[in-house]
């Protein structure tokens, strides 16, 4: 039906484009090693990430991976090691969006920094890893993609080499990450031991055939360890300990990147592994327990820990870090609700939340980046009265905060509302109640920030603040998207639900 039939491997286009951009940046760097020509470097990175975004959106619109009448069907590559379906494209879009925003914002944030080329290529490599995670369909590719996303992230967090906070953050992130990936790998080896396969579909068929019945403990432990690895990537309890420090110490755009894109990538592997490899009933038959129980517990504990810890923070960035943990808890509802009838609704709602979150949370962290760029300080008091000096950015901040808190009519309200209603429909009353209670609590600390910038009087008189183009552009775009995603929510809802329904 299409005039031009692209070769199959192009289905991975978004990830490949990100990789190519990273390589292009390496090339530039090797031609002029000490170059700090931000225009060229940021330009290449922006172009590459926007191209990846464009291709992902185009594919998604054109029906690549869609199973419907006018879709191309799910595309499997390399004997099923990769799979490009609606879910993959949906998360590639999230990753590409966040990458583009972060790259644009970094143009100003990283001004005067020595490692420009390295910075951008690391960001794009990590983005490549995340995009690959979205399409990975075997525990091998998942693990490799995960490491491809993680390793540059460690370096990015500690890229401010003379900043103790940045180094400390990098160290903690790295150590917890190394431990987690070891646990994840061990989990993979156990699942492999129990089933003899690493490809998700094959694992499922072995489990469904009942051939793994003898290895219930092995498989159960393996699944538990896999949950651990995923929990690390999504910053969920109990693997969340790195997050507050890493987000606080890292350069703010990187915090945005990690808390939005990296988290989303963690969720896509969670969605894929647990829906493709461990069919609920068959797995429950082997290990004797429904694995959604684990996610119910994790979701509740994660959102509670995140929100409660965020409530009394003084440092804005750290507050956002904890709130990010809380939001991971909300998104975990998507997995917790899979056992019920409306499972795909719950998961679709979680996916919507991750997309909206990609804008509002990135925007919030970029505002922190802006504040760091201005050098106004880090605490709530330091932010007092910024609204008078920088009304546009502060208005955007208010949008982000209210959207994160879930105030109608902003995007965050709708995604949370869908989560809530679908959780109710799936019968997860406790989870739904926890969602409401935590959202109510979150309003407290989010509005505290809005109050600080708009209502409080500044502690010290400050001079006029600069208006860095890149940061402003990224923040405004994120704010606009947070608002207009609502009118466009119909297509987003449809896409998310379709993508979810296709794999559940």
């Amino acid at each position: 039906m299409e005039p031009i039939q692209l070769p199959e491997w192009t289905a991975l286009g978004p990830a490949l484009l990100l990789a190519a951009t990273a390589i292009a940046l390496f090339v530039v760097d090797s031609i002029s090693p000490r170059s700090t020509n931000r225009n060229v470097l940021a330009g290449i990175a922006t172009t590459g990430s926007l191209a990846a975004l464009g291709v992902a959106v185009w594919f998604s619109m054109a029906g690549v991976g869609a199973t419907g009448v006018d879709g191309f069907g799910v595309i499997e590559l390399f004997d099923g090691q990769f799979v490009v379906d609606q879910l993959a494209l949906y998360f590639m879009i999230i990753v590409a969006v966040v990458t583009a925003l972060v790259v644009v914002a970094s143009y100003d944030y990283m001004a005067g920094h020595t490692y420009q080329a390295e910075y951008y290529s690391l960001v794009l490599l990590a983005a490549t890893g995340m995009a690959t995670m979205a399409a990975a369909n075997s525990l091998v590719t998942i693990f490799i993609a995960l490491e491809l996303a993680s390793l540059p992230s460690y370096a990015l967090v500690s890229i401010l080499k003379d900043n103790r906070g940045s180094v400390e953050a990098g160290l903690k992130y790295f150590l917890v990450g190394a431990l987690s990936s070891a646990i994840f790998l061990y989990g993979i080896s156990l699942v492999y031991g129990a089933t003899g396969y690493l490809q998700l579909g094959n694992i499922a068929s072995v489990i469904e055939a009942g051939d793994a019945a003898a290895y219930d403990g092995l498989l159960g432990l393996g699944i538990l360890f896999l949950i651990g690895g995923i929990a690390f990537k999504t910053a969920s309890v109990p693997f969340h300990f790195w997050a507050p420090e890493a987000y606080e110490g890292a350069p703010a755009p990187i915090s945005a990147f990690l808390s939005s894109a990296s988290k989303a990538a963690g969720f896509v592997i969670a969605f894929r592994v647990f829906t493709e490899a461990f069919p609920l009933e068959a797995t429950a038959g082997v290990i004797g327990i429904d694995w959604t129980v684990a996610f119910v517990a994790l979701a509740i504990v994660t959102m509670t820990v995140g929100n409660f810890a965020a409530a009394t923070q003084d440092n804005v960035k750290r507050m956002l870090a904890y709130s990010s943990i809380g939001h991971a808890g909300y998104a975990l509802i998507g997995l917790a609700g899979l056992s019920a009838d409306g499972g795909e609704l719950v998961m679709g709602a979680a996916m919507m939340h991750l997309l909206v979150y990609g804008f509002m949370n990135t925007g919030a962290f970029l505002f922190v980046a802006l504040a760091e760029h201005w050098g106004v300080g880090r605490t709530f008091e330091d932010y007092n009265g910024l609204g008078r000096r920088a009304p546009v950015a502060c208005f955007a901040l208010a949008i982000f905060m209210f959207s994160l808190a879930g105030i109608p009519p902003l995007g965050g309200f709708w995604s949370k509302y869908f989560l809530f209603s679908s959780a109710l429909e799936a019968g997860l009353l406790v989870v739904a109640a926890a969602l409401v209670i935590n959202s109510a609590l979150s309003l407290y600390y989010y509005s505290r920030l809005v109050k600080a910038v708009w209502i409080e009087d500044p502690v010290l008189e400050r001079d006029a603040l600069t208006q860095p183009t890149g940061l402003y552009a990224a923040i405004v775009v994120a704010a606009v998207m947070t608002v207009v995603l609502l009118p466009g929510f119909g297509p987003v809802v449809d896409t998310a639900l379709e993508a979810a329904a296709a794999i559940v």
Binding site: A178, Y192, L218
Partner: protein
């Protein structure tokens, strides 16, 4: 004569526990890193043993990948430990606590 699979699993689990013990008790960043290596290699033993047991090569190939990734991880880790030493004059992982709570 073949060794029963259980022994391999026991060996790997033992190695895993030793690694975990190291992670929990060692304060030197390098020792921490080495303990993580033990954890990874415990997984590798599993993969190779199960590959043998199941009669397919997937596990063995994956073990190779895992080793390469472990090496990459160590490289990044060493870099971080280097800047850690530069900033804190120490490689004790319990020293950097400027950010907490």
């Amino acid at each position: 004569m073949t060794v029963a699979i259980e022994y391999y699993v026991l060996l790997s689990m033992g190695l895993f526990c030793i690694g975990l013990f190291g992670v929990l008790t060692r304060r030197n960043a390098l020792m921490f890193l080495m303990s993580v290596e033990l954890l990874l290699n415990a997984a590798n033993i599993n993969l190779i043993a199960f590959a043998f047991y199941h009669g397919n090569l997937t596990g063995q190939v994956f073990a190779l990948f895992a080793m390469a990734l472990a090496a990459a991880e160590v490289a990044v880790g060493l870099g971080i430990i280097l800047v850690l030493y530069r900033n804190f004059r120490d490689v004790d992982v319990t020293v950097p606590t400027t950010m907490r709570w």
